[in-house]
Subunit: 141 residues, 4 copies
């Protein structure tokens, strides 16, 4: 199962070359992760990820250039790998209305974190159970 | 040899958690690359990279959190790999005045591009010669 | 008549104080203006504002603080004043689901511009006619 | 007396029209204000503005367009008006190396604020004394 998030663009996401800038795609991934880890996860466990999370690593492949458009793009997110104290997400940023494949494929390693106290923590059983529903190892993304 | 760029921070680089946001580090890498590929490279060849470049891939490891400070951080950039039509950069973002190692280690695959016509191109002999001076395969970054 | 635009927020719109940063509201106004001047205006005249526009002045009053939320805010835009070569917009940024009045009231002077040639130009008759439909001088905003 | 701040640009400050975007100038003003209200003010009073400040109003006139350059621009800041619980700043953003006058003139009303408790407060005697040294009513900016 994949989590699907419709992410609206802003005109200012484009840089002086007239394309969405490579750094801005991390904002799209961030919006999708927030929707996934707070809104969606908390439907099953209101305490999920309430202490915060930290990004430990990104890998981003830029496949096609994207120009500002009024319609949102779709960020699909799934779980590539779970460890005791981290989750690796896979994503594809695509536009169902556009031919030609994803604009971006990416992976992010996220560490559950106690932001108030300043230390990483393990996934709770409820968080792990929620994330396991999105494991999708059939994709290379 | 490494290229060293002093990158000023902005207060707004911090997010609601009070740290420099993970997406913002790509701006620091961008500033360092622009200084390297336009200012520095054009001291040896005024035509270097004038047609544009495109980012094909980023890998970013977030090692330590950074809070806004008045003093710039240092972005060190070097060349990890050269192919006929791409260059892979390695970077470390660090603060000489701070103990504790780099905040970020990253790699970026950059493709020379003819932005006006819309196609990738090969590195010129002068570009390749300039980049070869920064090959540094002694680092894992 | 007012133009109404539903503007999605991003988590990164907040600064280290945990509120939407004052500079970011200009992005919301920009998104509303683009929707108004390109999408809406071009339904009546496909050539409207195709050469570009330039912002000559902003006045922005910050009335209430806004925290990131999943639901969009509403940007209402109307025309305060028309001259031969400029239009002054009024706006209110509000949330229909929130009590307590607008977050921001603002005005912007926009100049139609020939961005390719680099000079300001007069409003066309069709642009003027479209804008006149949104004149609303009953508001102080 | 005016406070002078050298503000570095970033390539990403430009939008798809190839000029520094109107919203980005508010970042330059913010950097100048932070340097003025925290670094400079705290040289005379270490407690100055430690509780936070809030922007109540901006007025910004865009006079000339600015393209990314390696050299910083200069933000000059002075005090236009003081009340018991607010300060109005005037600014000019200019480039000493460029002919043709300022890029931007602006004014900002800032309210000292207790951000932790959530209420505005009066200027302290030390803050007022510091700010009075920068009153400059000889300028229309």
């Amino acid at each position: 199962m994949r989590h699907s998030y419709r992410c609206p663009l802003r005109w200012s996401d484009m840089d002086a070359f007239g394309h969405v800038n490579n750094a801005v795609y991390l904002r799209y991934l961030e919006e999708a992760r927030i929707d996934f880890l707070t809104r969606a996860a908390r439907e099953t466990d209101p305490e999920a990820f309430t202490g915060g999370t930290v990004v430990a690593r990104h890998e981003v492949d830029y496949l096609r250039q994207l120009v500002h458009q009024a319609d949102p793009v779709t960020v699909e997110t799934w779980v590539v790998k779970l460890t005791a104290a981290s989750v690796t997400f896979g994503y594809e940023i695509k536009d169902p209305a556009s031919e030609g494949g994803p604009f971006v494929r990416a992976r992010t390693v996220v560490v559950p974190y106690n932001l108030k106290e300043g230390y990483p923590r393990r996934l709770s059983a409820a968080e792990r159970s929620f994330l396991e529903g999105y494991i999708d190892d059939s994709h290379s993304g």
